[in-house]
C-alpha cells in the first residue's frame, strides 16, 4: 500500500482516507423497526397466515369460512347431490333411473313422491329386505342400512335432493325430523320388508 503512486489531485499531507466504524443514526433504526412492526400487524390481519385458500377481499381463514354459502335449500340440494353421488348413485344411478336387477329407480317413483317422508326415511335408515313393488315391477334385491354412516344433516340433504330432482315433487326434509325418526328406530334397526314399509304412514 505504501508503494502506491501519489495521486496528483490528492496532495500529500491530506492523509489517506480510511474506513472507520460509525453507528447508524438512531432515527433510522427507530423508523425501520416501526415499519417492521406495522408490517407485522398488516400481515397478521390480511394475509390469512399464508393460507393458500385465503385471497383478497378475505383477510382471514375464519372470515372465508363464515362467508361460505351454507344456508338455504340450494345448499341442501348441493350437499345432498354430493352425498347421493358417493353413497346412493352407485346402485340407483346418478340420474336416479336405477339399475335393472340391482336397484329400483327413484325418478318418478311413488315411494319418493309422497306427502311426508316418514316412510321414505326408513329405507336408508334401516335398509330393505324382501320384495318391494316399484312402479308396478317387483324388486327383490336387499338394500343395506346406510343410516349409521350418514349424519342427520347428510341424510336430510340427500332425501331433499332425491325428492327435488329428476322431476320428483317432494318437499324438503329437515335434519331435526331425521333425528327424531333415527331415535325412534334405535341403533341397529332391522331391515323392513316392502309390506312393513307400506304399513307405515307416509
Amino acid at each position: 500500500m505504501s508503494e502506491e503512486k501519489q495521486n496528483p489531485s490528492c496532495p500529500a499531507g491530506a492523509g489517506e482516507p480510511t474506513a472507520v466504524r460509525s453507528s447508524a443514526p438512531i432515527w433510522i433504526i427507530v423508523v425501520t423497526l416501526t415499519l417492521l412492526f406495522l408490517g407485522g400487524i398488516y400481515f397478521d390481519h390480511h394475509s390469512g397466515w399464508l393460507n393458500p385458500r385465503v385471497y383478497a377481499p378475505y383477510d382471514t381463514a375464519d372470515q372465508l369460512e363464515a362467508s361460505q354459502p351454507k344456508s338455504g335449500a340450494a345448499a341442501a340440494m348441493a350437499h345432498g347431490k354430493g352425498v347421493y353421488e358417493t353413497v346412493c348413485g352407485i346402485c340407483h344411478g346418478a340420474d336416479g333411473m336405477g339399475k335393472p336387477g340391482v336397484a329400483p329407480p327413484l325418478a318418478g317413483s311413488d315411494w319418493v313422491n309422497t306427502k311426508g317422508f316418514y316412510r321414505l326415511a326408513h329405507i336408508p335408515l334401516c335398509g330393505v329386505n324382501g320384495t318391494i313393488m316399484v312402479e308396478g315391477k317387483q324388486w327383490s334385491s336387499a338394500m343395506a342400512a346406510m343410516g349409521a354412516a350418514l349424519s342427520d344433516d347428510d341424510l336430510a340433504s340427500v332425501l331433499t335432493y332425491i325428492r327435488g330432482s329428476w322431476g320428483n315433487k317432494g318437499t324438503a326434509v329437515g335434519a331435526e325430523d331425521i333425528a327424531k325418526i333415527r331415535a325412534a328406530v334405535g341403533k341397529a334397526p332391522a331391515p323392513n320388508t316392502g309390506d312393513q314399509l307400506m304399513a307405515m304412514p307416509e
Binding site: N51, A56, P57, S67, P69, G72, A74
Partner: protein, 265 residues
C-alpha cells in the same frame, strides 16, 4: 479487506431474503396445490383441457395473445343478498317486514340480521353471496381468479395489458364456436369498434368443392367470402378457437365462494 466478510454476508442476506419472499414463500404456500372440488358438489376442478384445446394453448402463446389480453378477473369485495323462499304462517307480517328491510348489497352481519328478523317472523330465507368489483360488473366473471384456475397451465398466461377484454371466461361468455372463429377471421364483423388485428392467416379461403365444408365459417353480411369460395379454419385456427372455448374459470370454489345463478330458485 476486513469488511469483505461483512459485504459478503450483507449481499447473501439481501438476495436470500428476496429468494425466500419470491420463490420459497409461494412454493410453500401454493406448491402443493392440487385438484379440488367445486363448492357444494362432487365435481372436480380444474380438469385438464382436452387435446385440441391443449394444443390451442400453444397457439395462444405463440401469437402473443397475452400481450393484449389478460386472463385474470379481479374482485374487490363481496355482497350478500337475503331472499325470502317461503313467507311461512304469517305472510302479512313478513311482507310488511320485506318493505322495510334492506335485502340486497348487504354485509355479512347485515345479511345475518335481516335473515334472522325474517325467520323470527316465520319466513324462510336464503342468503346469496356474490362478488363485486369492476371486472365483475363488466361481466368478465362471477368471481376472482384463484391459483386453482391455472393448475394445468404451463406457462401461466396472466397477461398484464388490457388492450382487449379479459379472456378468463370467454368460453362461457361466448360459447358459440362460429362466433369465435369469425371474430378471429374478421374482428370487426362481430365487434364493430374492435381494435384487434385480423388473424386471417389462421384461415384458408378456398373454392367450394363438390359440397361446402361443414367447417366453413358462417360470415355476416359485408364480410362474406368471394363468390364460389369458402373460409375454412386451418389446424391452428381450429385449435385456438377450441382453446378459447375451453376458457371458463367460474366454478364456485371454497376459496372464491359465490352463489351461482343456476342454484338460485
Amino acid at each position: 479487506m476486513k469488511t469483505s466478510y461483512g459485504v459478503f454476508f450483507a449481499v447473501l442476506a439481501a438476495l436470500g431474503a428476496s429468494w425466500a419472499g419470491f420463490v420459497l414463500g409461494p412454493l410453500i404456500q401454493l406448491g402443493a396445490a392440487q385438484q379440488t372440488t367445486v363448492l357444494n358438489s362432487t365435481d372436480v376442478y380444474p380438469i385438464q383441457r382436452p387435446g385440441l384445446a391443449a394444443m390451442g394453448a400453444q397457439v395462444y402463446r405463440s401469437y402473443g395473445c397475452a400481450a393484449c389480453h389478460t386472463r385474470q378477473v379481479q374482485q374487490t369485495g363481496i355482497s350478500f343478498e337475503v331472499v325470502l323462499t317461503s313467507p311461512g304462517k304469517d305472510p302479512v307480517t313478513v311482507s310488511n317486514l320485506l318493505s322495510t328491510l334492506k335485502l340486497t348489497a348487504l354485509t355479512k352481519e347485515a345479511a345475518d340480521t335481516a335473515a334472522k328478523t325474517l325467520t323470527d317472523a316465520g319466513g324462510k330465507t336464503e342468503t346469496h353471496l356474490s362478488a363485486t368489483g369492476a371486472d365483475i360488473s363488466r361481466g368478465w366473471g362471477s368471481r376472482h381468479s384463484v391459483a386453482a384456475d391455472y393448475l394445468y397451465d404451463v406457462p401461466v398466461e396472466l397477461g398484464t395489458l388490457r388492450a382487449g377484454p379479459d379472456l378468463a371466461n370467454i368460453g362461457q361468455r361466448n360459447p358459440d364456436a362460429n362466433w369465435q372463429l369469425v371474430h378471429l377471421y374478421a374482428p370487426k364483423a362481430v365487434v364493430k369498434d374492435s381494435a384487434m388485428p385480423s388473424f386471417k392467416f389462421l384461415f384458408q379461403v378456398r373454392p367450394v368443392g363438390a359440397a361446402p365444408s361443414p367447417d366453413a365459417l358462417k360470415l355476416p353480411a359485408g364480410f362474406e367470402a368471394p363468390a364460389g369460395m369458402e373460409v375454412v379454419p386451418t389446424a391452428e385456427g381450429a385449435e385456438l378457437a377450441a382453446y378459447l372455448l375451453s376458457l371458463h374459470a367460474d366454478a364456485p370454489l371454497y376459496e372464491a365462494p359465490y352463489t351461482p345463478a343456476t342454484a338460485k330458485p
